[in-house]
Amino acid sequence: MTIAVRHTWFMVGRQLRNLMREPIWIALLLVQPMVWLLLYGQLFKRVTHLPGGGFGTTSYITFLAPAIVIMNSFFGATWSGMAMISGLDRDVLPRFLATPVSRISLVVSQIVRSALIAVIQGAIILLVSLALGVRVHTGVVGWVVMLTAAALMNSAFAGLSQGIALLVRKEATMIAIANFIGLPLFFLSSTLISIRQIPHWMQIAAKFNPVNWGVIAAREVVLPGTDWNSVGFHLALLFALSVATAAFATWTFRAYQRTI
């Protein structure tokens, strides 16, 4: 076990070092959430005045910011399998497999790397939100909860993405699947608008949508009247999903090894 942890740490270190060498990457990954936060947030700022309400605040940007942290984390996760595919394409992974490296660390490190990036991006998004006047009702605890939600949201879908990458092993297929999963789950949630404003069937669907679990947990701690039970429950759901998808990714890794 300690070997697995140590090897995971080596592998995460390798990936983060490589990423730090091109920090422009993190900046590029932040452009999209900034567009949502700055442009979309302005464009629809009056949406909070809709009859029926349900926003919990009159400041749309306050409503939106925690959800953008989750959205960014979610989309980042759906793409994280691409790194695995490029490791398969070149013989990087086989080279490691001929060493005593812990097998599980090769999979888990990809998930940890992806989640760490999501947390860093989430913190940057929150800092920008702070500058835009967003106030986190529960303070520092709220920040911790939001970043935890971002990490769990990311690892849940990074596990899935790694698993799919190991099954399809082709970048084009991976892109198609990421889009196929990403957009519907994004729109079937209360990311952009209050749950009370969306059609009834969508409200039902959103209950089972992990993206919505993350959005609820993150938003609860920003708005007044935080329901801690709901926060805990939804974080627990995300944690359970993370464990399940990590197990799925490990299983697909074994399947991949059988095809070498």
Binding site: R21, R90, D91, V92, T99, Q257, R258
Partner: protein, 328 residues
Amino acid sequence: MDAIVVDELRKRYSDVRALEGITFGVRTGEVFGLLGPNGAGKSTTVKVLATLTKPDSGRAEVAGRDVVREPNAVRRAIGYVPQSSGVDRDATGRENLMLQGRVQGMSGRALESRVGEMLELLGLAEAGDRVVRGYSGGMKRRLDVGLGLVHRPQVLFLDEPTTGLDPEARAAMWDELERLAEGESLTILLTTHYMEEADELADRLAIVSRGRVVVEGTPEELKQSLRGEAVEVELGDGRAAEAEAVVAALDGVLEATVDGRRLRSRVASGARAIPSILSALEAKGIGVEAVTTHRPSLDDVYLHYTGREFAAEDEQGRAGDSGGNGPR
């Protein structure tokens, strides 16, 4: 003691039979070549020995450990240089070597000094702290070899070490490997589909065809096992099959095969056979463009033992590879 024992290995990928009872042994300290066309089973053999994949049946031992029952013991004892480069292109050469050493259980000063030594040895001292993306093909390949050697393994597997390199880089790599083989007192198993490479590097070699060893020996032994000389006739027109039958029937001709418009034969004496070959072909009205003769090469050895032209099977092997069998 033998560093590598391979006994009756069999393996199939869905409908492709990759190994069909391959058997050979490699002595400690020697450079052993597995020679054969793509798809012959060389890479699959190496993957079994490097514990990447399990055989369906048969037994294999590396450095005295069974590859199926004690994979981690084998992994500590070997270095594996895969067919396509396994270096992390976004990291520096030094970082690549450090990480490889760490997962092999090295650490601290010992690792740092070993990595420095490897960079020096591979001629990468200057480039060690540059990102690999900027390396030339030859530098990248040398780093690959370094990754296989950093933890001082007993056995090194080189899967097609010079494929994709230009002739100059290939020659440099050969020098490099010869030097390493001497300096590090290693057992090396290398696969190649280049005759000259096997001839140049291997102390002993096995010719592999369709998942089994067809012949084994030193390059010299193999060449000498073919008596006589090789005579190659370039035919002027398309009557190759007829020409083969005519020449094969001549006295002093040991064997004859055709490949396109080339008729290859092995004869007891070139000086006596060439006139009779030419007159026999002329009598049938078969035109001849050119005639050459040479001492048997490994090409001829391959032809003799497999009954197929090396290059021709190579093409077949490739066609088979793209048919979607397991190993990429």
